[in-house]
């Protein structure tokens, strides 16, 4: 369709993955053969597109293929960033425990910013209402014996911007 015969093979090999990646940033086409749709748009074969995406997944460039739910649109209005001040030698272990909790949607270690900010572990909990989120948090604290770990719940009061930036990403706090 777009003159493949006259295309220089060498430049095709380097130019196409970039084009494919930028097309993919807009999302996966909702067509019966989405990889073929993309292939036609960037002058590759369907097999080549699949091979690139498989490679990018293997290399970790693409974390997963899937979807991002806008919890707020579903009435899950309470969005809590729960932050913990953990001893440096136990942050990884507690981080793994929190990440395994179904109510926790994201969990990261981040630097403290003393004296204003003593917390080094951040996780997100979404729920329909604040009470639900706090119940889930209580259960988590009890299950993992975190009663004595200083922590705070920062509910979102308002979302001022929910999109932007160039890259697709998870709903990061």
């Amino acid at each position: 369709m777009n003159g493949l015969t006259s295309t220089d093979t060498a430049s095709r090999a380097s130019a196409c993955p970039e084009r494919l990646r930028s097309l993919l940033e807009r999302g996966l086409p909702l067509t019966e053969r989405p990889w073929l749709t993309l292939a036609e748009q960037c002058g590759m074969s369907e097999g080549e597109v699949l091979a690139w995406v498989e490679r990018w997944q293997r290399e970790g460039l693409i974390k997963r293929l899937g979807l991002v739910v806008r919890h707020h649109a579903l009435g899950m209005r309470a969005n809590a960033m729960v932050v913990w001040d953990l001893p440096d030698d136990s942050v990884a272990e507690v981080g793994r425990q929190l990440a395994a909790e179904p109510a926790v949607t994201l969990c990261y270690r981040r630097p403290r910013r003393l004296p204003v900010w003593p917390y080094n572990l951040f996780c997100m909990i979404h729920g329909a209402r604040r009470e639900r989120v706090l119940e889930a948090l209580d259960a988590i604290v009890g299950r993992h014996g975190l009663q004595h770990i200083p922590h705070r719940v920062l509910f979102s009061l308002k979302a001022y911007k929910q999109c932007g930036g160039r890259y697709a990403r998870e709903d990061q706090p």
């Binding site: 990018w56 009435g75 960033m81 270690r109 204003v116 509910f155 979302a159 932007g164 990403r169």
Partner: protein, 159 residues
């Protein structure tokens, strides 16, 4: 158009929508006809799955469908940052911060650090430059808290 974007009522999902969202939070198989494979699992036709996905995107239930990139490995920069904004200045600072295209997910939260946003830039170096520019534009110190380690969540939130 913008009326439905600001619609306050939550979107109602029916049972099939919920199955779709829950199933696809786990990912889509990397095969030639991924929607056929998933539709079969969910006892839907391919056409119905595609139609419902289109509608979920239009209704704003899904903000994205497709590959989730690892920004840092793509060569980009990503961080979480916070500001301590004086109450009287909140609107002005919000406008100044949101004017940066690198700013995403800007939330007001109940803490002395009351504005939290994600910065996503094309290169890691641009994070520092953008923070300096935000400090210049707002007159406030930016608390930069980049991710040091990610703990992978095993389950996604069921809807």
């Amino acid at each position: 158009m913008s009326a439905h974007r600001h619609r306050p009522e939550p979107v109602e999902l029916d049972a099939a929508d919920r199955r779709i969202v829950n199933r696809l939070q786990d990912g889509l198989p990397l095969v030639e006809r991924p929607y056929v494979a998933v539709a079969a699992e969910l006892a839907l036709s391919e056409g119905e799955l595609l139609y419902r996905l289109e509608r979920l995107l239009e209704d704003g239930v899904l903000s994205r469908f497709g590959p989730m990139y690892h920004a840092e490995r793509l060569g980009g920069g990503l961080t979480l940052a916070a500001l301590e904004v004086p109450e009287a200045d909140f609107e002005r600072v919000t406008a100044a911060v949101n004017a940066f295209p690198e700013v995403a997910h800007n939330y007001r939260r109940d803490h002395r650090l009351n504005m939290w946003f994600v910065l996503a830039t094309e290169t890691p170096e641009r994070i520092g430059e953008t923070i300096a520019a935000i400090e210049a534009a707002t007159g406030l110190a930016v608390f930069n808290m980049p991710k040091q380690e990610e703990f992978h969540v095993r389950l996604h939130l069921p809807v």
